[in-house]
Each structure stands twice: as structure tokens, then as C-alpha cells.
């Protein structure tokens, strides 16, 4: 008796299936608009969260999908932030949308160059090289005071009103809708990227870096590509920060920023796109609340939370939600 033929999987359908928009996602994105109505005094914080979420999404592309750890991702965030500042202040290019794109491209160019170094190392050496490159850039920015303003940073960076109509108001309404809108658009882009055949090959590299080359995947080129894209995303996030706060300071390049985005992403869950957004919300809201009570000791709780996530909820909050849904019998 012949064994039954294995059911063929249509690759097109397998790739398209996860792209289907679920109703829960619509609810999620509509809920993100709630602060506009419910907490108008917290709109500045909400914009910060959207920016951090975009930054975490950028890290998710390389860490969550390609499995490349970075301890210096703030480098690209900082390049985007400073480039947007120079563009508006020094070079007189004050249109915000094109400013975002140009800043992202600037970060992507540096990301592309750095990616040639990144693919050469792995494990501890990768951690140290990304950390080292981040610190080097921070030191360089600190010394090039004529360009970056050094420790003082750059202030009073004005951009034109959005679409020629909406000025960045004092309450942060325009800034909130702007950052959230950019986050949403770039989220859609990231979704397409990770569900494409290219994204699939990245996940293959994450799971088994030795096997993929033998399947004919040019692994180093794939890593370089996603690293460049992630640098673009981080650059746009940095530029958003500059445009909405009208200033930029050295801390955009700091190691602390690199570490925080990693923590946000892990709390939310890596390799899920939504993880970065959820993690950024949790992290920044918790810091806002705890820091007013006891600024010094909030580190203790974030450390405890990290340990708890690693030990008990691998996959972060989004991973935990997925496991819960599977347990009650819903589609994961």
C-alpha cells in the first residue's frame, strides 16, 4: 500500500495567510487613538511612546527576524535625529515629511556601511562591535561641536506645518497624530517585509544560520539588506523625535537608549512586530508613573520584570498573549 502523498503547501498561500488583517488589529490601532480623547494632557508622552515603538520595531526587524543582536542601535536613531536637525536648521529644508525620509536615508547609508562589519562577527564579538560602534559615534558627536552643538545639543529647530496647514501646537496634538500616523505606515511596510519571501529567508537565518547558505540563500547579503532597512526605520524614528520636540541632544546616541529599546522590545516580545509597540507602551508608562514616585529605584523593578519575562514568559507579552489564546482555543 502506497503511503499517502504529502499534502502540498502552496507557497503563495502560505506567505499570504499571515498577511490577512485581523479584526483585533483594527481594534488595537483604533485604541491607540484613545489618548487624543481620554488623556489630552498626556499627548506628549503618547508621542514619545509612538517614537520609541517605531525604534523598537526597527530593532525587531534585525533582532526578532534576522537574529542579529545589537547593543548600539541608538547610533542610527541618533544619526536620523541629528540629520533632521541639520536639515531644518542649517540647510533650510523645513518640510517635515521629506525631512523624515531624507534623515532615514542618511541613517540607512551609514547602516549599509556598518553592515559590512556586522556580518563578519557573531556572538560576543558581535555584541562588542555593535556596542563599540555606538560608543564611537557618540564620542564623535560629542567632539564635533561645530556640527552637533556638543553637550548643549541643538535647539529651536523649526519645521513647516504639516501638509502646509497643521502647526505643531503646544498641546502636542499635531505631534501625536503625526508620530502615530508615521508609525502606522511604517508598521504596514514592516509587515510586508517580514511576510515576503525575503522575510522568510531571514527567519530561516535566525533559526539555522549554517543551513541557509547550503539552501542557496546568500546569507550575508540578506543580513546586510535588513540591517540597512532597520537603520532607515531607526533614522526616521530619530528624525520624528527632533521634529516633534524641536531639539536634539547627545542622549539620542547614548548606550542607555540602545539598552532601553532592547528592554522594551524584549518585554513586548521579539519577532512579532507588535511586541515593540506594546513594550514601548509598558516601559514608558511605567517609567512615567514610577519615576514620579521614586526615580532611583525604578531600575529595580524593570530588572525584576526582565528576569521574570526571561524565565517565565519567553516571547514577552505578545508571546504570553499568543500562548493564552492558544490555550482557550483561538487562532494564534
Amino acid at each position: 500500500m502506497a503511503a499517502p502523498a504529502p499534502t502540498a503547501i502552496d507557497p503563495r498561500r502560505a506567505l499570504a495567510e499571515p498577511l490577512r488583517w485581523q479584526w483585533g488589529e483594527t481594534v488595537f490601532w483604533l485604541a491607540l487613538l484613545l489618548p487624543f480623547v481620554l488623556a489630552p494632557t498626556y499627548l506628549a508622552l503618547a508621542s514619545q511612546i509612538a517614537i520609541a515603538a517605531l525604534f523598537a520595531l526597527s530593532l525587531d526587524l534585525i533582532l526578532g527576524y534576522a537574529g542579529v543582536i545589537s547593543l548600539g542601535h541608538a547610533a542610527f536613531f541618533g544619526i536620523g535625529a541629528y540629520f533632521a536637525a541639520l536639515l531644518a536648521q542649517r540647510w533650510g529644508w523645513q518640510e517635515p515629511f521629506s525631512g523624515l525620509v531624507l534623515s532615514g536615508v542618511a541613517a540607512a547609508v551609514v547602516g549599509y556601511l556598518a553592515s559590512f562589519l556586522i556580518v563578519r562577527v557573531s556572538r560576543l564579538a558581535l555584541l562588542m562591535v555593535t556596542l563599540g560602534l555606538g560608543v564611537l559615534l557618540g564620542e564623535a558627536a560629542n567632539h564635533l561641536t561645530s556640527i552637533t552643538g556638543g553637550n548643549d545639543g541643538l535647539h529651536e529647530i523649526d519645521v513647516w506645518p504639516l501638509l502646509g496647514r497643521f502647526t505643531f501646537d503646544l498641546y502636542g496634538r499635531t505631534a501625536f497624530l503625526y508620530t502615530l500616523g508615521v508609525l502606522f505606515l511604517m508598521f504596514l511596510g514592516a509587515r510586508r517585509i517580514v511576510q515576503s519571501p525575503f522575510g522568510l529567508s531571514l527567519r530561516g537565518l535566525r533559526e539555522n544560520a549554517e543551513r541557509m547558505p547550503s539552501l542557496g540563500v546568500p546569507s550575508r547579503r540578506r543580513i546586510r539588506t535588513i540591517y540597512t532597512i532597520a537603520a532607515f526605520y531607526a533614522g526616521v524614528a530619530g528624525a520624528l523625535l527632533t521634529q516633534t520636540t524641536q531639539s536634539v541632544a547627545l542622549d539620542v546616541l547614548s548606550f542607555q537608549r540602545s539598552a532601553e529599546v532592547l528592554i522594551m522590545l524584549v518585554l513586548g516580545g521579539t519577532g512579532r512586530l507588535y511586541g515593540g509597540i506594546v513594550g514601548a507602551m509598558l516601559f514608558l508608562v511605567a517609567r512615567d508613573q514610577l519615576a514620579t514616585m521614586n526615580p532611583q529605584y525604578w531600575l529595580f523593578w524593570i530588572g525584576a520584570l526582565l528576569i521574570a519575562v526571561v524565565l517565565f514568559v519567553p516571547g514577552g507579552i505578545m508571546g504570553g498573549v499568543k500562548a493564552l489564546r492558544a490555550r482557550v482555543g483561538l487562532r494564534p
Binding site: R120, L127, V129, I263, Y297, I307, V310, L311
Partner: protein, 287 residues
């Protein structure tokens, strides 16, 4: 001029020996189990605070607190190894990094809570104060003491690893863990003991560091970077590599601060990145 140069070299060497004591334990344990333990510098910080508490509260002489810091931190680290680390030996390095970063954050906040954020100090015995100047070179007694301690520890470790039965087991486990298990070596036991000794050395380093670089709750994060630098440049699992990298880093850091103060940390990181791109396994690493 030459005397000044030699003086700077000596200061750098003393600083390098401090870095060696702080990092050698991590190099050996990471080489052995491949566990990325970023909390190593937190153990060092706790060793420092243990020494501070013993001298200030209980009046124990500073030199006597050094072995106590070693033993205390070795015992404490064994507890952590049993409760936390052992669960993650087979997890990815990201999980290990995150767990141990979590520990560092908790240690920083706890030390700030228990001892405050101010700089701590301890008093070494009077004969370790001051300096003497043969041929015009300023040699501080405490720094001489550090160089001596570093040399003794390096020799002790090399002897222990190369000449004893236990050291042979450690080397076998580093080279090929599965083969070592197959030969009946209790690799977990070997690791637990090595981990305790390595962390104890960190605790000793933390206590030695107080008189040289000070101690406050940011010690763990500040020296974490230096320790990782030494370990990655020296090569995992290599005592000699760690020694060379620590001396190199200590001398270039101190010399950089004397002669090129405006360059800041730039030189060290540039050299590290270049070295790691050239040899990703470190100067003396085998993998």
C-alpha cells in the same frame, strides 16, 4: 621625560592588573559554558560593598576583608548559579544577556538603596599609602600592591589550570564539552566550582578597586563595559590573553588620559572594534 613616561606606564599596568582581576573569572566561565554573564561586574561591585561594610561597621582591617570578599561573593554566586543561571545554560545568548542585565539593574538599585549613591571609601593600612621614587619614577605603594596581587593571581591560575588535575578537567571541558562528559568528567560540577572561583575573583577585584577608582552604585554598569572589552579582546577562556588584553587596555587608557585627554574613550573603542574585526575570537581565542 622618560621617567614620567615610565611612571605612566606603571600606573597603566596597575590599572590593567585591576582590570585583569575583575575580568579573568568571566573569561574562564564564558569560555567554559558559553554563558554570557553580564552580572559579573555586579558581583565585583557587591565584593566592594562587602569590604566597605566590614571595615566601616565591624572594624575589620582592609587587607583581611580581601579574602572575605572573595569567599563571600563566591558563595553568593553559587546561590545565583543554582537558582537562576542553571535554567538558561541551553537558552540563546539573548536570554542570558537579558537575565543578567536584569540582575545588574536590580543590583544597582539595591546598592543605591542600601548604601546610598555617594562614593565609598576604605582605609588601607598606612604602609600602603604614599610612594617612593627610584630613578625619579613615581611608584605608588598601593599600585605596587595591585601589580603584585595581579601577578600572583595570574600565576596561580596558570598553575591551577595547567598543572593540576582539576585544571585538566576544566581545559578538557572548554575544548570539547561532550567528549569530556563522555570521559566521565562531571562537567556541571567543574563549572559550578569554576564559576564560584571566577565570581569570587570579581568580588576581590571590586574590593581592590575602591582605593583606585572608587565605588558607587554605577560601578557595575561602568566596569561592565571594560570587563567585556578585556574578555572579548583577550579571547574567551584564555588566562594569558586576558592578562595581555587587560595590561594593554589599562596602559592605553591611562596613557590616553595623560597625553591625549581630548580623545577620551575614542582610542580604546576604535582599537577594540578594529581588533575584533581582524580576529573575531579575540587575540588569543581559539574559537
Amino acid at each position: 621625560m622618560l621617567a614620567h613616561l615610565l611612571g605612566v606606564l606603571f600606573d597603566g599596568l596597575a590599572y590593567g592588573m585591576l582590570l585583569f582581576v575583575l575580568s579573568v573569572g568571566l573569561s574562564v566561565t564564558m569560555g567554559l559554558m558559553g554563558f554570557v554573564n553580564l552580572a559579573h561586574s555586579a558581583f565585583a561591585m557587591l565584593g566592594g560593598y562587602l569590604s566597605v561594610t566590614l571595615t566601616q561597621r565591624l572594624g575589620v582591617p582592609f587587607l583581611a576583608t580581601l579574602p572575605l570578599a572573595f569567599v563571600g561573593i563566591a558563595a553568593l554566586s553559587t546561590l545565583f548559579e543554582r537558582l537562576l543561571y542553571r535554567r538558561l545554560y541551553h537558552a540563546g545568548e539573548l536570554d542570558q544577556v537579558l537575565l543578567t542585565i536584569g540582575l545588574v539593574l536590580m543590583a544597582v538599585a539595591s546598592c543605591a538603596f542600601l548604601w546610598g549613591t555617594q562614593q565609598q571609601q576604605v582605609d588601607p593600612p598606612p604602609y600602603l599609602f604614599g610612594y617612593f621614587s627610584p630613578f625619579g619614577i613615581d611608584l605608588g605603594f598601593y599600585r605596587l600592591f595591585l601589580v603584585g596581587v595581579g601577578a600572583v593571581i595570574a600565576l596561580g591560575l596558570v598553575f591551577g589550570l595547567e598543572r593540576t588535575r582539576f585544571g585538566a578537567k576544566v581545559r578538557a571541558a572548554v575544548d570539547n564539552q561532550r567528549m569530556a562528559r563522555g570521559l566521565g568528567i562531571d562537567v556541571n560540577g567543574v563549572f559550578a566550582l569554576t564559576f564560584a572561583v571566577g565570581s569570587g575573583l570579581a568580588g576581590l577585584g571590586g574590593a581592590l578597586a575602591i582605593n583606585m577608582v572608587g565605588l558607587d552604585p554605577n560601578f557595575a554598569t561602568k566596569y561592565l563595559v571594560f570587563v567585556l572589552l578585556v574578555v572579548s579582546v583577550g579571547g574567551l577562556g584564555s588566562v594569558g590573553g586576558t592578562f595581555a588584553a587587560a595590561a594593554l587596555l589599562g596602559i592605553s587608557d591611562v596613557a590616553g588620559k595623560y597625553y591625549l585627554p581630548e580623545a577620551g574613550a575614542f582610542m580604546i573603542y576604535a582599537v577594540m572594534v578594529a581588533l575584533l574585526l581582524w580576529r573575531p575570537a579575540g587575540l588569543f581565542g581559539r574559537r
